[in-house]
């Protein structure tokens, strides 16, 4: 029996938000467990907290799966129960789960406060999940803040590391600044359309009752707010410093989770609420995409720190993903979801190896520290090579299928120039991804004991295996993941159509 939600009673929201509620409650449990049992004194207990968080993520994932049996009536409630949101939730829960797995060894070694670390990680995931489920700008804003504040704290979590504190402060200041833009954008949009509800905004634009000038400013400010969060050039200034300074597991979590949540909300707001004024905003996003792809790929060429290089690579990927927003069609939407899904695995995987080479600390991050790694640690070398090839979008990996997906969306929207820029900047990216591969395999290790006896904690090993398996599987047999993404994208627009019909 399928359950129908029409949101006539508040209780329906409890059902619709079940995964978020489960995860919030679990975060409290983890927090309490972290302080009550003197976890920080016993390494085993610290590890247990990690597994406990992972269990919570699994339970939330079960709840998310259960929601597939629930249908919503209409599509104007504050919270969406559509395939689009549920697919996005898979991405976010995967990002959280992978991050927890790669964190366990690091948190123990660095003696971070485990209860707070995992608790914040789960809370921030809840914030992300609110962002992707929201059909109301205010709910998106709340989700954004829950997510961001937790991530600010996680960035500055390593109190013994100056760079971590610096990164936290930078992220906080610039994040607060961008939040201002975002909030002002919401206010202006509300002023223009008379509502913060996405469906109502779309309707107001549709029947011409929205104030054009105000709306234009609102759209522009919201675009800036989102551009900050997805770190598109020229709003990317915080990214390299924060990604480099944050504890590496936090970098992994941010680069996958925060980006995914921001992009999904970005897409929902722009392609549903602002679909009627596409002609006014597509050029903004077009330029953001071009600047991000060209700028980030150029700057990444000269990076000598692998973590910082991956930060610029993440900005470049934001550029590729912005193609999906400009394309504004079903194929592109599905491509965005698929790409974010694969990106979660390949980016967290690559950063997990950075973490391992650094000995679960912030060491050995220069590219020449990787010299000879491949022959000393063949499995790590092969895994890193696969992750890098996938980031580069090379055939046989999920990254390739994702890129094709985005390009198809762009082709459907007749964006031939943008597609050409994407592939040309991809060639630039080959240089810096392959450079790591050449240090790993083509240079000799500096001394006899380099890379010998690198500890690979079991959960991290598990995450690497899962990551490589998914990257290769989605690259070679993408069929099922791809069709799921397409169905999810359709549910987004079909909801929109239903709404127009109802009005």
């Amino acid at each position: 029996m399928t359950m129908h939600l029409d949101f006539s009673s508040q209780g329906h929201y409890l059902i619709a938000l079940l995964p978020e509620l489960v995860l919030s409650a679990w975060a409290m449990v983890v927090l309490v467990a972290g302080v009550s049992k003197r976890m920080h004194t016993s390494p085993d207990r610290v590890t247990d907290l990690g597994w406990l968080s992972l269990l919570g993520i699994l339970v939330a994932a079960l709840a998310n799966g259960w929601l597939y049996g629930v249908t919503e009536v209409g599509s104007s409630a504050m919270v969406a129960v559509d395939g689009f949101r549920l697919y996005a939730n898979w991405i976010l829960l995967t990002a959280a789960g992978m991050s927890v797995m790669v964190s366990i060894g690091y948190v123990e070694k660095q003696k971070l406060q485990a209860g707070e670390f995992y608790g914040l990680l789960l809370l921030s995931t809840v914030g992300m999940m609110f962002m992707v489920s929201a059909r109301d700008l205010i709910v998106i804003f709340l989700g954004l803040e829950v997510m961001s504040i937790a991530v600010y704290a996680m960035t500055a979590m390593n109190r013994r590391d100056r760079k971590s504190a610096e990164a936290g402060l930078k992220y906080f200041l610039l994040g607060a600044f961008s939040t201002g833009f975002f909030l002002y954008g919401i206010a202006l949009t509300y002023g223009a359309a008379g509502s913060t509800n996405i469906a109502a905004i779309a309707a107001a634009i549709g029947d011409g009752s929205a104030h054009t000038g105000l709306l234009g400013f609102g759209v522009a400010l919201l675009a800036i707010g989102f551009a900050f969060k997805v770190s598109a050039v020229p709003f990317h200034m915080w990214t390299p410093d924060v990604y480099e300074g944050a504890p590496t597991p936090v970098t992994a979590f941010m680069s996958a989770g925060v980006k995914a949540a921001a992009f999904v909300a970005f897409l929902r707001v722009f392609s549903i609420a602002f679909d009627g004024v596409y002609a006014q905003w597509w050029a903004i996003i077009w330029w953001l995409a071009v600047l991000s792809m060209v700028g980030a790929n150029l700057i990444a060429l000269v990076q000598v720190n692998v973590k910082r290089m991956l930060a610029y690579s993440s900005i470049a990927h934001a550029g590729y993903l912005l193609l999906a927003i400009v394309s504004n069609n079903g194929t592109a939407t599905a491509g965005l979801l698929f790409y974010l899904f694969v990106y979660t695995f390949m980016n967290i995987g690559a950063l997990a190896i950075v973490m391992t080479v650094g000995g679960q600390a912030e060491r050995n991050q220069r590219i020449d520290d990787y010299a000879g790694l491949g022959w000393r640690q063949p499995m790590l070398g092969i895994f890193m090579t696969i992750f890098l090839l996938s980031l580069a979008g090379f055939p046989g990996t999920g990254g390739f299928i994702g890129k094709i997906f985005l390009l198809q969306g762009a082709m459907d929207a007749n964006l031939v120039y943008l597609s050409t820029i994407l592939v040309l900047t991809t060639v630039l990216s080959y240089w810096y991804y392959l450079r790591v591969a050449w240090f790993m395999w083509m240079c000799e290790a500096p001394d006899a004991d380099a890379h010998v006896g690198l500890a690979v904690p079991v959960p991290l090993r598990l995450a690497l295996i899962v990551g490589v398996a998914v990257v290769l599987y989605t690259g070679i047999f993408p069929g099922s993941a791809l069709e799921l993404a397409q169905a999810a994208a359709e549910s987004l627009t079909s909801g929109g159509f239903l709404l127009l019909g109802a009005l």
Binding site: W282, A283, F394, G396, I404, T420, L434, W438, G479, L482
Partner: protein, 549 residues
């Protein structure tokens, strides 16, 4: 039970995937046995592939694909795992399966460390190349086309000479630029197919039916041609080649020259001409391609003549030979196309053999400089004989494989573009000018250096490697008929497609209207997105005429 699954059903899949099985076996084998295991697998693949010679029947199917099989791969996008063989790919596949075991055998002494990884990459490379030659789905083709880059990148970069990393990354980036633009073009075709044919497809057969305007064809031709021209390589895109060839280890150079370059010219024959016939016949395009081909022939020959490094010299001869292929193809005559294909085969055999021989010289003397040798003919007569025969085959002496190909290519070119043929023919003279002095300085001058006195003659393993290559050079040169008759139907079909497909009507129509052949493509800015796009389609083939006017 056995006859239910006949040779023609499984052979293409076996050729494609057996090297990967070999790869797994190599990885499970102790390092000291890796080379023999890899050799046996590649030999097995070659032995299996011999049957293709008879399984492919030139008398049926008017030169179309045979042994075809198709299975959906990514159904949502209409990508299929589909393989097929025609009179063009037959030779490319057999060249690959024939060269691979010899290249592996030729690396037994050369590759001393990290053997498992090396032989695993060689087998991975073989799968990629066979996939390129067999794929009849454009996305599948692209996947294999790119897949060959990774093993070659590592083969050059890990086992290469002093400047190996520079050469490896240059090779990778050069070829990637072209192929990524081709990817955009492939996706554009896919998108047009969805609109015009009403089906998502990457299938070669379906995309051939796609009506395209001249303007679209020229753009797409540009993207495909760039990818293949870099791979071939055609002047001025050839600069990666000397670096890659010289720095690569012997077996790497062998497969680069014998197989990898053919992916480019194969792409011309398989995709470029049939998919974009009007663009391929466009006088400006033909003129540009022929000119670049002739420049390649003459320029590369002159550069080769002054190289002090024998390996670099041979590397440049590849550019010259590929020039003959290009003029043969763009002459758009049966003789020219057959000649081009024939040069591809004979270049694969003779240049592959030259690189093997240079590797053997290098193993003996640890130098590649021509001036370090001299008089080797006296101490190593068999080596000298093999080298001289191969060198003469390479420059196209009558009675060797090189002659047949170059002669046909020039003949075919002369039929339509006599001036081009005349210039290109000088290339044959220049070929003697670079090859014969090298042979003389290495093998026939005074034996005046002490190190050269102790040079050993060919070992038994080396004879086993060279004998089949030399035999083939002479057999093909003396009796090319079985080769020609197998390629002819497919070449004819290709030519017919270029001249008579709905897409080639464009240019013929223009001629009939007396507009002359100078009608340049008109690029109309399309305002739909504020940026010029490739152009709009009508709904029938001859409408392209409008775009030209």
């Amino acid at each position: 039970m056995l006859d239910m699954v006949s040779y023609s059903d499984w052979i293409l899949h076996a050729l494609l995937w057996l090297p990967l099985a070999g790869l797994a076996h190599v990885l499970w084998t102790p390092a000291e046995h890796a080379k023999t295991v890899a050799f046996r697998w590649s030999l097995l693949v070659f032995v299996l592939s011999i049957g293709l010679w008879w399984a492919y029947d030139p008398a049926v199917g008017q030169g179309g694909f045979q042994l075809e099989s198709t299975r959906p791969w990514i159904a949502a996008w209409g990508v299929s795992y589909s393989l097929g063989l025609d009179g063009i790919s037959l030779f490319m596949v057999m060249l690959t399966t024939f060269t691979a075991p010899l290249a592996i055998l030729g690396s037994f002494n050369y590759i001393k460390n990290r053997q498992k990884a090396f032989y695993a990459l060689m087998l991975l490379f073989q799968t990629g190349v066979v996939g390129v030659f067999l794929a009849t789905d454009l996305l599948l083709f692209y996947v294999f086309f790119e897949l060959t880059l990774v093993p070659m990148y590592f083969i050059i970069g890990v086992w290469g000479g002093e400047r190996r990393i520079y050469a490896a990354i240059k090779f990778f980036l050069f070829t990637a630029v072209g192929s990524l633009l081709m990817l955009v073009a492939i996706l554009y075709l896919h998108q047009r197919a969805e609109t015009l044919l009403g089906a998502a497809t990457f299938s070669y057969a379906d995309l051939l039916r796609l009506p395209l305007t001249l303007k679209e064809q020229l753009w797409l031709f540009g993207a495909f041609a760039l990818a293949f021209s870099i791979k071939v390589p055609i002047f001025p895109f050839h600069t990666w080649l000397p670096d890659a060839h010289v720095e690569a280890p012997t077996p790497g150079s062998v497969v680069l020259a014998a197989i990898l370059l053919k992916m480019g010219t194969y792409g011309f024959l398989r995709f470029l001409l049939p998919l974009f016939p009007a663009a391929s016949q466009h006088p400006t395009v033909v003129a540009v391609m022929l000119t670049l081909g002739v420049i390649g022939i003459i320029y590369a020959a002159l550069v080769a003549a002054v190289q002090p490094d024998a390996k670099k010299l041979v590397a440049y001869t590849s550019v010259a030979h590929m020039g003959f292929v290009v003029i043969g193809i763009f002459a758009l005559t049966t003789n020219g196309l057959q000649g081009g294909l024939f040069v591809m085969i004979s270049h694969g055999i003779s240049t592959g053999a030259l690189f093997l021989l240079l590797g053997m010289l290098y193993e003996r003397r640890h130098t590649r400089l021509i001036e370090d040798f001299g008089g080797l003919g006296r101490v190593a007569p068999m080596l000298a004989t093999a080298f001289v025969i191969t060198g003469l085959a390479s420059i196209g002496l009558p009675g060797t494989s090189g002659f047949v190909g170059e002669f046909l290519a020039l003949l075919g070119t002369f039929e339509t573009h006599p001036l081009v043929a005349i210039f290109a023919t000088t290339g044959v003279v220049f070929a003697a000018y670079y090859m014969l002095p090298m042979l003389q300085r290495i093998f026939f001058n005074e034996l005046d250096k002490e190190e050269n006195v102790a040079v050993e003659d060919l070992s038994r393993r080396e004879i086993v490697i060279l004998a089949p290559l030399i035999a083939l050079m002479i057999v093909i040169g003396v009796y090319p008929a079985p080769f020609l008759e197998r390629m002819e139907p497919s070449v004819q079909a290709l030519l017919e497609r270029v001249e008579q497909s709905p897409n080639s009507v464009l240019r013929l129509g223009v001629d009939e209207l007396g507009l002359g052949v100078s009608a340049a493509p008109v690029i109309i800015p399309d305002e739909s997105n504020g940026f010029p796009v490739m152009g709009e389609m009508g709904d029938g083939p001859p409408r392209g005429l409008m775009a030209v006017r």
